[in-house]
Amino acid sequence: MKVTVKLFASLRKDRFAVDDFDYQEGATVGHILASLNISEEEAAIIFINARHGEPDSPLKEGDLLAIFPPVGGG
């Protein structure tokens, strides 16, 4: 299944801003994070089609997955 992955802020470094990937049916956000070498700690905010998701959220054909890192400085 095709999933579009959009990375924000520093998660783009040495990766990409937005790209399409083919994943096996039933893949979760966690599987995609692992394939991109992003730890769950680094994926502070996960949105699937503009709705809040979690690492165990399943994905389906055509989903847009957006991942933001934790930002905490002042």
Partner: protein
């Protein structure tokens, strides 16, 4: 003898009271600067320092800002700019809370830090600075860390709280205290070229959602540090949110988070 109001009305020029008249009234009537400021605004006159606000903020709105009470939690990169902008706007009561003293690594972005005040407490330095900029502002410096133990007392009388902290667990603690005290919280945070801002009202728990899975003290700033233009920009957006809350006008980032990427010049809004 003329009353204060008669004096102000007689000396207004095109609806403006110049600083020299305001200062004279303070001395002549034995009043505080904030008391004279309030009297001016109640007469629908404007201290001349605000004349460039006038096309965007009415006298009535300027009076609302003067009566507004804001607590700024943290006087670092974000906090200094937030305090400076609130004071120049004419927000009348600002509580500044920070336990730290200035260090050399603050000089890259913290507006009130100078070579001459390294080692001095940030909250006290902010109070001196703001008195120099706008004596009509009542500034309350608190040299202490904001915690759930002392937090309720420190913010109980304010209208809005500004998050300018540098620690994720402290932010969550602040969000809890604001929830308990029924006070809106404007959150901003930065790291490298990036930042985020949101406004949360009691019962919304946006901050808790943003950091729901994060267990560490710090985020990307641990590796990326903090840049001057990023803190200035995020602080300015926080101030815009604060002003809208104080005035009850405009559209805030309530229930949303604005993510800023100044490296790629991308602003992204997400809805929780």
């Amino acid at each position: 003898m003329e009353s204060l109001k008669e004096c102000l009305l007689a000396r207004a020029e095109n609806g403006l009271i110049h600083l020299s008249i305001q200062t004279w009234a303070v001395q002549n009537f034995g009043l505080t600067f904030p008391a004279v400021e309030e009297a001016i605004l109640e007469l629908n006159l404007l201290p001349a320092r605000y004349q460039r606000n006038q096309r965007s903020l009415s006298c009535r709105q300027q009076l609302s800002l003067f009566r507004g009470k804001v607590a700024v939690i943290g006087c670092g990169g974000l906090g200094c700019y937030i305090i400076e902008e609130l004071a120049r706007l004419g927000v009348g009561h600002i509580t500044v809370i920070d336990p730290d003293n200035y260090e050399e690594h603050n000089l890259n972005r913290q507006l009130f830090s100078k070579v001459d005040n390294l080692g001095q407490p940030k909250a006290a330095v902010a109070a001196v600075r703001i008195k120099e900029v706008n004596p009509a502002v009542t500034i309350v410096p608190v040299q202490d860390a904001f915690t759930s133990r002392n937090g309720s007392v420190l913010i109980e009388k304010v209208d809005v709280v500004a998050d300018a902290l540098d620690s994720i667990p402290r932010r969550l603690e602040l969000a809890e205290v604001c929830e308990k005290c029924d006070i809106p919280l404007v959150h901003g945070s930065v790291g490298g070229w990036y930042g985020q801002v949101t406004t949360q009202f009691p019962g919304e728990y946006t901050l808790q959602k943003i950091y729901s899975r994060h267990s560490g003290e710090r985020g990307i700033e641990k590796d990326l540090g903090n840049l001057s233009f990023v803190v200035a920009m995020l602080a300015s957006i926080e101030v815009a949110e604060i002003v809208k809350i104080l005035l009850g006008e405009g559209s805030t980032l309530r229930g949303k988070m604005l993510s800023l990427n100044l490296l790629d010049t991308e602003f992204t809004e997400i809805t929780f």
